[in-house]
Each structure stands twice: as C-alpha cells, then as structure tokens.
C-alpha cells in the first residue's frame, strides 16, 4: 500500500497529439480516487501511465515516495483490472488468480499459493468455479476473477479501467458495492477510471474530473456536486444534468427565460459589471408550487411553465420544459454539450418534482425554484462566479474524516472476524 503522486504529468503521442496536459494529483495511502470525464479526456491514458503500459512524456510519477517513471510495469507492484477483464483463456480460474503469485518464482510454496487463491476466491464467492475456464463463466464471474487476480498479490495499489462498463445495469450496481466493500476492507490505495458519473459519485473518496487532458477539479463527490469550479464540472456531475439558462442582468433582477430572480447583494458583488451570465440550476432545485409548504415557498420564486413531456419514475417525476435560449450564449452551451458527449439537442429545462405532483404532459404548471441554490457562470471562461472555496474545503475535510473513520471501522471489523 502506498501513496501515489503525480506531478505535471504530460503525455504526447508520436504525432504530436497531447493526450494529457500536465496533470498533478496527490493520492493518499488507502484513498479511493476516481478519474472521470467524457470519452477522449485522457483518463485511461493517465491510468496506463501510472501502471506503466504507456510512457510518460514529462513529469514525475512517484509511488510510495519513489520515482517510478522509468520502471517496468512489473517493478511497480500495482494490480490492474482491465475493461475487458483480460483473463488468460488457457488457464483455469484457479490458475488465473494464481498467475501473479507463480510469476514470483520461489516466493510462495504450493501450499501458500493455494491458501491465498482460496482466500481471494472466498472473498469474491468464486469457490465453486475454481476449476472452470474463463470461457464458461458469466460476465459478472469473469469480472470477479479479474478482481481476484488483483487482490491475491497484495499490490501497492489497485487500478481499475472502467471495470463495470461491460456489465448490465443490475450487475453493475451489485459489483459497485462489492468493489467499495473490498476497498474498505483491504484499505488499498485505489485509482478508478470511469466515464459514468454515478460510479464516480458513489465510489470515490475524491473525484478528479478531466477534460481534454486537463484536470478541472479534484474534490469530494459532495464538493463537486455543490460547488463545481466551472461549467464543465457542473454539467458533467449530476443526473439528470444541471440546467443551464441564459441570464440577463437588468437592474436588481436576473432575467431568466422563464422566471425573474431578485439579486442579492453578495451575488451582485460577484457578478461585477457583467450584463449576461449562464445560470445553473439543478433539477431538484425546482418543485411543484402546489406541493411546497408556505415557509419554503416564501424563500423562492414561483413561475408558470408549459410542460412538454413528463417521466414518472416512482420516486420522482421529471418534467421537461422547452425554452428559447439567448443567441449570445447558445454557442457556448452547444460547445459544452459537445464536450459532454451530448447531441446538441433542443434547449429544455429538466425539473425533478415530487412523485405526488399532478403535473402531466402538456400542462401549464406552476413551478417553484429556490434561487439560493443557483449557480452563476461567466459566459466566456465558464468559471463559476458563485464558487465558495472555503465551503469546499470544509466539505472535503469532513469527507476525509469520514473516510478515515469508515476505513478504521472496516479494519476493526476485519480484525474482530479474524480473531
């Protein structure tokens, strides 16, 4: 187990393409860090540089304090789970898991190898399949064999390259908790690459958001969600994604396509002399006005909207409200959508209402929104003008304390079980 330190890591391919543009990241011992971003953001390249399958063009990579830039993968003592599992088809499950142990010639007796493999198999509930070949296993079982191969070796760190993307949705949820449980119990430093923001939010102690090879923000999931540093992070984190609306500042009022919001003094100071901004509102910041109690409705503003489509999900009701965007920010929002692997479809507001709401397709609904939660972005740079660094720091400290506590609890449970 070891800390991993990345300092100004750059990857330039032979044809001059810059895949990773100077990423610096400190990963603490025992921490679970997620690298997340849309396709082509360099997250997999970064992981492959850490494990040593890809050369580092410039910058320093240290594992446990030692610079490992020029070390071969085998000398870095890391374990990796590949997206397509990369199991050895000619070996049984037992031999697949034992493979890393057998490579360390003379380090383990046959007895020790069997013990270790059987322990890993028990952890992953693979005991019944040890003598089978990978070809005869289901997707989830293969995934677990790949994880078994990683944990059997007591590596310095685990690296996961989109390990769940080949599984169906139900299995993905199960394996996600399985990975989280395993990481807590073993307390091994873990770097996990995914393009799925749900995986990033649920698994990570900290999440590093990448875009076109550049690190955008590293923070706890809650820090990212509540205080994104820019438009990109705000749009990437959260599902359904944050709504972006053009906002015109007219005197003391912020004029949005569907609603006018009064400006507070603090917000006015942050806005400076800007006349046009992009306003970010998460779907859950809205509510059906008829369902908000009086105390809450006093904090927000209500407005009328024509609901186009609704989706009832049991726990929530998503309503879609189309609106016309301001041509001056349309370009910026379209570019953002492309960056997020979107299709640049119509501009619409997604609101998450209480599932009790009676709003239906085509209704003229009265909606309520809480402007205190509103985020305001600069239309040129995309920077979050309402960003509060102190609040993020506080959230992250809390998160770090939580992480240590849960790690200790898991270790204590493990010890109690062993004795």
């Amino acid at each position: 187990m070891a800390a991993i330190t990345l300092k100004d890591i750059v990857k330039e391919y032979g044809d001059g393409y810059l895949a990773v543009k100077g990423v610096s990241l400190d990963i603490a011992d025992g921490e679970f860090v997620i690298l997340v971003g849309p396709s082509g953001c360099g997250k997999s390249t970064l992981l492959r540089m850490i494990v040593g399958l890809e050369d580092i063009t410039s910058g320093d990579l240290a594992i446990g304090g030692d610079r490992v830039n020029d070390k071969a993968p085998r000398d870095r003592h890391l374990a990796m789970v590949f997206q397509n599992y990369a199991l050895y088809p000619h070996l049984t499950v037992f031999e697949n898991i034992a493979f890393p142990l057998r490579l360390q010639k003379g380090a383990f007796t046959e007895e020790q190898v069997r013990e270790k493999v059987e322990f890993a198999a028990k952890t992953l509930e693979l005991q019944d399949h040890l003598q089978r070949k990978p070809a005869n296993l289901s997707g989830g079982q293969r995934q677990r064999v790949a994880m078994g191969r990683a944990i059997v070796r007591e590596a310095q760190a685990f690296l996961f390259d989109e390990p769940l993307s080949n599984l169906d949705a139900k299995l993905r949820g199960q394996m996600r908790t399985e990975i989280a449980r395993m990481q807590r119990r073993l307390g091994t430093t873990t770097v996990y690459v995914t393009h799925d923001q749900t995986e990033a939010m649920t698994l990570g102690d900290r999440v590093a958001v990448l875009r076109k090879g550049e690190l955008q923000q590293v923070a706890s999931p809650r820090g990212l969600y509540e205080h994104p540093v820019n438009l990109f992070v705000a749009g990437f984190i959260g599902s359904p994604p944050m709504n972006f609306l053009p906002g015109e500042i007219v005197d003391d009022v912020l004029r949005l396509p569907l609603v006018d919001v009064p400006l507070t003094d603090d917000l006015k100071a942050r806005l400076g002399d800007r006349k046009l901004v992009i306003v970010g509102l998460r779907p859950e910041h809205f509510e059906d006005a008829s369902l908000t109690d009086d105390r809450r409705s006093a904090d927000g503003v209500t407005f009328d909207a024509t609901v186009d489509v609704t989706e009832w999900l049991g726990s929530d009701l998503y309503a879609y409200v189309p609106f016309d965007t301001n041509p001056e920010v349309a370009g910026k929002l379209e570019e953002l959508d492309r960056d997020l692997d979107g299709e640049g479809m119509r501009t619409q507001l997604v609101v998450a209402l209480d599932s009790e709401s009676r709003v239906r397709d085509g209704d003229d609904a009265k909606l309520w929104v809480n402007p205190a939660k509103m985020m305001v972005f600069d239309p040129e740079s995309g920077e979050n003008l309402t960003y509060d660094a102190d609040a993020v720091k506080e959230i992250d400290q809390q998160n770090e304390a939580d992480r240590k506590a849960s790690l200790e609890r898991a270790q204590a449970r493990e010890k109690a079980k062993a004795s």
Binding site: V51, G52, L53, A72, P73, R74, H77, L78, A79, M80, F82, N84, Y85, A86, L87, Y88, P89, H90, F99, P100, L103, Q104, K133, P134, A135, N136, L137, G139, R142, R149, R153, N166
Partner: protein, 280 residues
C-alpha cells in the same frame, strides 16, 4: 444448446453416415486392394479373396524397395523442412502483420495471395529449365523452394487471421501481473498462438506431402523424388501384371503419417481456445 428432437437426431445421423461413406469408401477400397494378390485384382470383389502382405513386402523389402524407400525418405525430409521453414517465416510475417502498423502491409498480403494464384503447371516448365541451369534439378532444395511458394502464402494468411484474434491486452495484463516481456510472451501468447501454428503447420505439411507436379517434373532419380511421383514408376512383376496392388500398398503407407499427425495434434487444432479472454 437445446436438446434435439428425435427426428432431427435421426436426420443428422443419416447425413453423417452418408458423408462418412462418401469420404471413406475410396480409402477402404484402396486398403482392401492393397491386400489382394496381383492375380486376383480383376475378380471384381471388394474384399480380397485371399489376404496377403505380398504387396507390402514388395514395396518395403522386395523388388520395389529401391524405388519406394528412398522416395519415402525424400518425401518426409522435404515436406518437414518445407513446413518448418514456411511456418517460421509465416509466423514472423503474420506477427508483424497482425500487431504492427507499417507501410506496405497490404502489399505483402496481396503479393502473398498473388503468388498462390499462378497454377503450378504454368510455373513448372520455366522452373525446370532454371533448375537445370543452376544445378538445383533433382535435389532436395530444388523441391523445397517451390514447396515454400505453395505453403508460405496460405500459412501467412491463416496465421495472420489467427493472430488478429489473440487479445494482445493479455500481454499487458501479464506484465502488470509481474511478468517480464519474455514471460508474458511465453506464458500467455505462446499457448494462445500454438493451436494456430499447429494447424498452419499441418496444412503446409499436407500441401508439400501431396504435391505431384513439382515432384515428377523437377526430379529424375531417387536422390530427391518424393512418393507421389515415385508411385508412377511402379511396375508389375511382368508386363502382363498391373502394379495396382503395390501402388495401393504404397498409398496406404503414405496415408499413415498424415493420420498419425492429425490424431496427435487433434487437441491443439481445436480452436475456440481464445474464447472467454475478453468480453464479446
């Protein structure tokens, strides 16, 4: 797979038997003929009236010994060498074609295909003249080279297709697991590539083993003449006797190594070994 209905099973059994009979009847016919006495060849019975080893004695120890045994040695030697060289070269070429991106990749593949397009008969006359002038006529090398031209293209194509299926990510996985580049190659890639190489070697061997046109045109003595060509020189005990029995016996003898090879490497030939390495 779902259990087949009885009718389907019967239908498949009938088809299988028909195909087996169609394929194996000539083999049995030759086998039966090889045990017949020369005088009883024309009796019209399928099985010999009196079973005899005389044909085998004739080709292995008797009058045809000097014709058959050297040619058997030639066939085995030439085919093995041609196969070995073809497989080694094809493995290297196919590895490069499957794994590396280099200019001229398409050119190599189309050239290989182009070489195998020309009918053997159209090449054999110029080769005959050339070989006589440079002293390769009636030598082992004089046959190995044309055999390579037959076996190399198909070896390169089958091996390249096979290598493309190998998930090369496994090599990286092995390296992360703690293997050196050589260990990764030997413990992961070689076991996966072996069936393909064996299959290719067998195909190449059969091509060389079965050749007749080069064998009869580019040789003149038992110094290099392979079995298929030598069979044409068999004669009966007198001019009134057909050498059919002896030829049948020789045919059975040359079939045996092929059958042994297939049985021996059956397991390696079984494909589908790469299944399950990666999803999809």
């Amino acid at each position: 797979m779902r259990a087949m209905s009885t009718r389907l099973k019967v239908a498949w059994a009938v088809i299988t038997i028909l195909v087996l009979v169609y394929a194996l009847f000539p083999v049995f016919s030759i086998l039966a003929t090889s045990f017949k006495l020369p005088s009883q060849l024309n009796l019209g019975t399928f099985l010999p009236k009196t079973w005899t080893w005389s044909n085998y004695e004739q080709i292995l120890t008797g009058s045809a010994k000097d014709l058959f045994l050297p040619s058997l040695r030639n066939s085995i030697g030439i085919s093995l060498i041609a196969t070995f060289v073809a497989v080694v070269l094809a493995t290297l070429a196919a590895y490069a074609i499957a794994r590396l991106d280099f200019p001229g990749k398409k050119l190599i593949l189309t050239t290989a295909l182009g070489v195998s397009i020309f009918p053997v008969v159209s090449l054999v006359t110029p080769l005959f003249n050339l070989w006589r002038n440079i002293g390769l006529y009636d030598t082992w090398l004089g046959l190995i080279i044309p055999y390579l031209s037959l076996t190399l293209p198909i070896s390169i194509w089958t091996l390249a297709a096979f290598f493309r299926q190998i998930p090369w990510e496994l090599e990286q996985a092995a390296q992360v697991d703690g293997a050196t580049a050589w260990q990764a190659f030997r413990k992961v890639i070689v076991p996966l590539a072996a069936p393909g190489v064996f299959t290719t070697a067998l195909i190449a061997f059969f091509i060389a083993w079965n050749d007749f046109v080069y064998g009869i045109s580019l040789t003149s003595t038992s110094a290099a003449r392979p079995v298929p060509a030598a069979l044409a020189f068999f004669t009966g005990a007198s001019q009134f006797e057909e050498p059919t029995g002896a030829i049948s016996a020789a045919a059975v003898v040359v079939t045996v190594p092929v059958v042994i090879l297939v049985l021996l490497f059956q397991r390696q030939i079984v494909s589908g070994l790469t299944q399950g390495a990666v999803k999809g």
